[in-house]
């Protein structure tokens, strides 16, 4: 593929990347022929989900390939210097000096044995020598608004908070005044409020010094806030690129459209999310990588790889881009009608504590709430607020220190084992981590069958039949039913977990952050499934999450939990539009939102 580079409208091109390709040692492609340009002072977003190759691309810009991977081609031209990226020796000259990298997880990226002043100074000394190192360190810390006291300089990484650690890493990246900053999901590991602060910091830098930035993320909402241009990657290929407003309001590539339809945002309530059918598969070499999942595909797409074509102010890599429908009116989810009568779940004055690093933390301090029949109630809070503990207490996995839990009119014993089988059946819990929720040594269908045996007393053949039906209903491909969990993706495993919960025929489903570990489109698919099941079966849901966009989409009522206490509760429409509690207001303001409507 020839590199069709797009020259941006702004005059001076600072950075040009041509024909960047990275493969595994065995030749399988991870990134195929990526090219783009960047102007001075521009922020460029690089968007993609797992398997898109975006992180590999970000690292390759510094001439770095992770063990097992190789950069096979690619040139970068920056500030007039031209460097071949596959030549590691030459590419190493770029690092820190012209191009700097800010990683995802700050805690593990700082040397635990060095004080932070030493860490920052190391980067300076590597390129500029020891002269002036102290001054440079102080200036770098000032730029990221960290205290420049001798006490702070002498701290070790573990003595800083997550947000402070990230700022230190940004300081390291800036200390040699590079031309380009590559940020790889720098806020993913932080809580929402800190995320907002770091984003502000980054925006500040952007405005301040005409620093060019490449911001890699899966979060279109964040990108929409800070990037002027965005490019979307799928399967190692750049599928669409253009001004952010264009790409987000009128996506041309079917994948970009699918992505835009799957992003939850708390500014639009009760919007139905749509996932993209199928699963991401990497390393496709013939034709378009998105073809297996594309609804607009024609015969040609599987055989020929589409070239980059200009459409309006963007470029797209699709033969059928003219057929891509507009984003359209978002369809609404009907608000669950609160049935009159006794609630399915009633939590009264719940008091729950747990041990965290040797200290006793109060997770729930006299918490009371109800979940009605057919209702979806969201429990929102930051990590450490106690929401997971509440979920586990309801499921009988954690002993409460006080209060009662009433399910379908009967009080629940503290431990699951002490509850009668009929009650255990009616409340099912699904966990966050898809990679831990299934027994690795059991086949999928056997795992789903088990509750039918223990909780409903079905025979082996009856259970198997029902399990098979349920797996179809959660849209798991038939061939996966007899496989082991290792062969399933994260989204597929969560579906299996849902099927396993449903076979017990519960009244209440407790979902503990079940989509937090999933890609955006996969999350949308799982939520789409839950909404359907809820409409069909009349299930009640207690949905625990920290993602306000998901709450806005799926929940009828919301409870805001702050350090073990419910500080606000009510119908979603009320709480999100006119929040009263200052903590709720802080959360809503910090959450990134897709600026579609505003544009």
């Amino acid at each position: 593929m020839e590199g069709d580079t797009v020259v941006s409208e702004v005059a001076s091109t600072l950075l040009g990347v041509e024909n960047l390709s990275v493969t595994l040692e065995n030749g399988r492609p991870i990134v195929q022929d990526v090219s783009f340009t960047l102007a001075a002072g521009e922020t460029f977003g690089l968007v993609g989900e797992s398997g898109s190759g975006k992180t590999t691309t970000a690292l390759a810009l510094l001439g770095f390939a992770r063990p097992g991977m190789r950069i096979v081609s690619g040139d970068v031209e920056i500030r007039g210097e031209r460097v071949a990226l596959h030549d590691e020796g030459a590419a190493r000259q770029l690092r820190g000096r012209l191009v700097s990298h800010v990683p995802q997880d700050p805690a593990t990226n700082l040397n635990p044995a060095l004080r932070i002043s030493e860490s920052i100074a190391d980067v300076y000394k590597a390129h500029r020598g020891s002269e002036g190192a102290d001054g440079a360190v102080r200036r770098a810390l000032e730029r990221v608004h960290l205290p420049v006291t001798s006490d702070f300089l002498r701290r070790f990484p573990h003595q800083l908070s997550g947000g402070q650690q990230q700022r230190v890493l940004i300081a390291c990246a800036l200390v040699c005044e590079p031309a380009l900053l590559v940020l790889d999901e720098p806020t993913t590991g932080l809580d929402v409020v800190t995320q907002a602060h770091i984003l502000q910091e980054i925006e500040h830098l952007h405005r301040e010094r005409d620093l060019a930035m490449i911001y890699v993320s899966h979060d279109l909402a964040v990108i929409s806030q800070i990037a002027e241009r965005v490019s979307v990657m799928y399967g190692g290929v750049l599928v669409e690129e253009g001004p952010t407003r264009e790409v987000l309001t009128r996506p041309r590539h079917p994948y970009t459209l699918g992505l835009a339809r799957s992003i939850p945002t708390h500014t639009v309530l009760h919007r139905r999310l749509h996932g993209i059918p199928g699963v991401a598969v990497g390393g496709v070499q013939t034709g378009c990588p998105f073809e297996p999942r594309c609804e607009q595909r024609v015969a040609r797409c599987g055989v020929e790889a589409p070239p980059l074509e200009r459409v309006g102010a963007s470029v797209v890599r699709c033969f059928e881009s003219h057929r891509t429908p507009p984003l359209g009116v978002t369809d609404q989810i009907a608000i669950g009608q609160r049935a009159n009568g006794a609630p399915v779940l009633s939590v009264e004055d719940l008091l729950a504590v747990h041990q965290h690093q040797g200290r006793t933390v109060v997770a729930a301090n006299s918490v009371s709430f109800t979940v009605g029949v057919g209702e979806c109630v969201a429990l929102v809070g930051e990590s450490g607020s106690g929401k997971t503990t509440i979920a586990r207490t309801i499921a009988g996995l954690h002993k409460p220190a006080g209060g009662r839990i009433v399910l379908a009119g009967e009080e629940l014993a503290a431990s699951a084992r002490d509850r009668p089988r009929a009650l255990r059946r009616r409340c099912q819990i699904i966990f966050q981590n898809p990679f831990e929720s299934l027994n690795p040594t059991r086949r999928v269908i056997d795992e789903v069958m088990r509750p039918a045996f223990t909780l409903r007393g079905l025979s082996s053949s009856q259970g198997r039949e029902e399990a098979g039906e349920l797996l179809s209903r959660v849209r798991l491909p038939d061939r996966l039913a007899e496989r082991y969990p290792a062969e399933l993706s994260g989204g597929e495993r969560q579906r299996v977990a849902i099927a396993r919960a449903l076979i017990a025929q519960p009244d209440l489903l407790v979902c503990d952050e079940i989509t937090s570990a999933l890609d955006v489109s996969v999350q949308a698919a799982v939520i789409e499934l839950l909404v359907e099941l809820r409409e069909e079966l009349g299930l009640s849901l207690l949905f625990i999450t920290h993602n306000l966009g998901v709450v806005a989409s799926i929940a009828d009522r919301v409870l805001i939990l702050n350090r073990g206490e419910i500080c606000e509760e009510g119908v979603v429409d009320d709480v999100f539009v006119t929040p009263r509690n200052p903590y709720t207001i802080e959360l809503l303001e910090a959450a990134p939102s897709l600026h579609i409507a505003a544009q």
């Binding site: 991870i30 990134v31 797992s50 398997g51 898109s52 190759g53 975006k54 992180t55 590999t56 190692g236 699963v279 991401a280 598969v281 990497g282 390393g283 586990r392 499921a395 009988g396 996995l397 699951a416 084992r417 509850r419 089988r421 255990r424 099912q428 819990i429 966990f431 966050q432 981590n433 990679f435 831990e436 929720s437 299934l438 027994n439 690795p440 040594t441 059991r442 795992e447 088990r450 509750p451 223990t454 909780l455 969990p485 290792a486 062969e487 399933l488 993706s489 994260g490 977990a497 396993r500 017990a504």
Partner: protein, 283 residues
């Protein structure tokens, strides 16, 4: 089966060959030995000759025959002790690892106390009063090795018991024995098997050491380790009486270790939680 992939690695092959040879000698040796291992066939400390390919030992017995007979006891004692160690250690580790009551600290503190002794020392202490016999050897070594296994099983059990699928089983109200049997044990098998090779190696080393020190089998039994201590003084006269059994023990322990290492390497690389080949996550 996935486990047998170790047979394809360099170390695996070397281990199989060496171990195969040693086990062959140990098990089949007695059937082909030219003389009775306890019989005095000639003058002591003769150098190798046609009649006695490895010469005679300090008492005048045929070294070759004694070498052919001397492996059985080493192998069977080591195996018995290993099996005992695994049985005891796994039981303790599972129960302590899963329990949230006092049982956990009580069991594990006891394990720690036994682990605070050098292994041989612990065995010697018990041997002081109980004396030496095949049974004490097996039980003693099993007790010495069990705590190491208990520790590994304990941490594997603890790690596994907080994983989602175990909690899902608890929430279903399944009984403790069902959970240990169906959810936990299959998922810690890998850690156990990975340590099997190392434990067998230790077991052989301990059995050999105990016999060498004279606290195991007593003369006139033919035992490779015992032979080394018996013939050490006359090493200058007939070096083979010492070196032959020494080489056999070395081959046994090295073979077991090579195999064990190959097995645990194979297990380590088999990704139980990893995605399938076509899915490339985290790029």
């Amino acid at each position: 089966m996935r486990i047998f992939r170790f047979a394809r690695t360099g170390r695996g092959k070397a281990g199989i060959i060496v171990l195969g040879f040693v086990l062959g000698v140990a098990l089949i040796g007695p059937l082909v030995a030219p003389y009775d291992p306890a019989a005095l066939v000639s003058a002591p400390d003769l150098t190798p000759s046609r009649a006695f390919p490895l010469g005679t030992d300090a008492l005048g017995r045929d070294v070759l025959s004694r070498v052919l007979w001397g492996g059985r006891s080493v192998v069977w004692l080591a195996l018995a002790a290993t099996v005992g160690a695994f049985a005891i250690g796994t039981a303790i580790g599972l129960v302590a690892g899963y329990s949230r009551s006092l049982v956990d600290p009580v069991l594990m503190r006891t394990v720690d106390v036994i682990l605070s002794f050098p292994p041989l020392l612990f065995f010697l202490i018990v041997a002081t009063s109980v004396g030496t016999s095949e049974l004490t050897l097996i039980v003693g070594i099993a007790i010495v090795l069990a705590p190491g296994i208990a520790r590994i099983v304990y941490s594997a059990t603890r790690e596994t018991s907080v994983r989602g699928f175990v909690e899902a089983a608890v929430a279903r109200g399944e009984s403790t024995s069902a959970i240990l049997r169906r959810e936990i044990l299959p998922n810690i098998l890998d850690s156990i098997i990975a340590n099997f090779g190392l434990t067998v190696t230790f077991s052989v080393l301990l059995v050999a050491a105990v016999n060498f020190l004279g606290l195991g089998l007593q003369p006139p039994a033919a035992n490779w380790a015992l032979m080394i201590s018996e013939n050490r003084d006359a090493i200058a006269i007939n070096v083979w009486a010492t070196v032959a059994p020494a080489a056999m023990i070395a081959a046994l322990t090295v073979g077991v270790n090579l195999l064990g290492d190959a097995v645990s390497h194979t297990l380590g690389r088999s990704d139980i939680g990893a995605p399938a080949i076509t899915r490339v996550e985290g790029t």
